[in-house]
């Protein structure tokens, strides 16, 4: 299910001409579901999908701790690429809501900042 959700988001980004550069990037501090690139802009994408008996929308479940962990992992990732290969980085959240027929995707570019603050 989580895997399907990530596939759907990758397809969504692909159709928009956004290149996927990494999936499930792990570092000591945390994990990033998808790292994507659009020109000189890097996007760290957290994918959330509808869980049974979840309260509220899936995209609301990215808590403060999770956001900071993603930011930590992002810093670890940025240390591995040439510093002049990117100009901007942002944190996106993609929500995959399974209706009873096919997924609905709600995409939030720049959902939070590197300190985990919701924008």
């Amino acid at each position: 299910m989580g895997r399907d959700a990530e596939e759907a988001v990758c397809a969504y980004l692909g159709k928009r001409g956004i290149r996927i550069v990494e999936r499930n990037f792990r570092s000591r501090g945390g994990e990033i579901d998808i790292i994507a690139r659009e020109g000189e802009v890097l996007a760290f994408v957290e994918v959330r999908f509808r869980e049974e008996d979840g309260h509220g929308l899936p995209e609301e479940s990215v808590g403060a701790v999770k956001r900071r962990r993603i930011a930590t992992a992002a810093r670890a990732y940025l240390a591995t690429v040439p510093p002049d290969s990117w100009r901007e980085a942002r944190f996106d959240v993609a929500a995959v809501d399974g209706g009873d027929c096919g997924p609905v995707i709600r995409y939030y570019p720049g959902a939070f900042d590197a300190k985990g603050k919701i924008l």
Partner: protein, 204 residues
Amino acid sequence: MDGFEARARARGFRTVAGVDEAGRGPLAGPVVAAAVVLPTGFPQAEIRDSKALSPKAREKAFLLITSHALAFAVAHSSPEEIDRINILRASLLAMRRAVEKLKPVPDFLFVDGNFPIPPAKYGPWGAIRQEPLVSGDSRCASVMAASILAKVTRDRMMHEYERVYPGYGFASHKGYPTKAHRVALRMLGPSPIHRKTFRGVVPG
């Protein structure tokens, strides 16, 4: 259950409102919010969770709430706004509008969900305290009441939209992503009240 409003009153707040919204998940239509101030001793057992009620029971609860409430207000945020500022912000905006329409002005809000309502620069916001309540719509009577007003109002709006934009089935699925809705969307393309930023509305 109960007790949230009583506790707020015990802390010295006089006008305690519950706030909730309906319609964040659908592919079409507005997101509707309501704010309700209930009197003490409101028969809350009769309204329970709006999602657990049948449409008919919800209509009954709607009447009970609107006839007993000390104050209530309903407001919405449009599909255009949802596309512009995203659905999470639009639902908070709708809640803000509902609160601003309340008379008398509340001094305490229980808001369903994780987030408090971003206060406006002007108006009564300086004097309003807020507490977000996760699953407030099943724990707190006035939030539950707000949830019912929002849901019933939204359903009524979607019934109206059925007449304005026939063929999509808005009266039955209310804009939610059902099979019939998808099929109609594929045949007819998006209507003016579809949320264009939700993938599943615009192909691709």
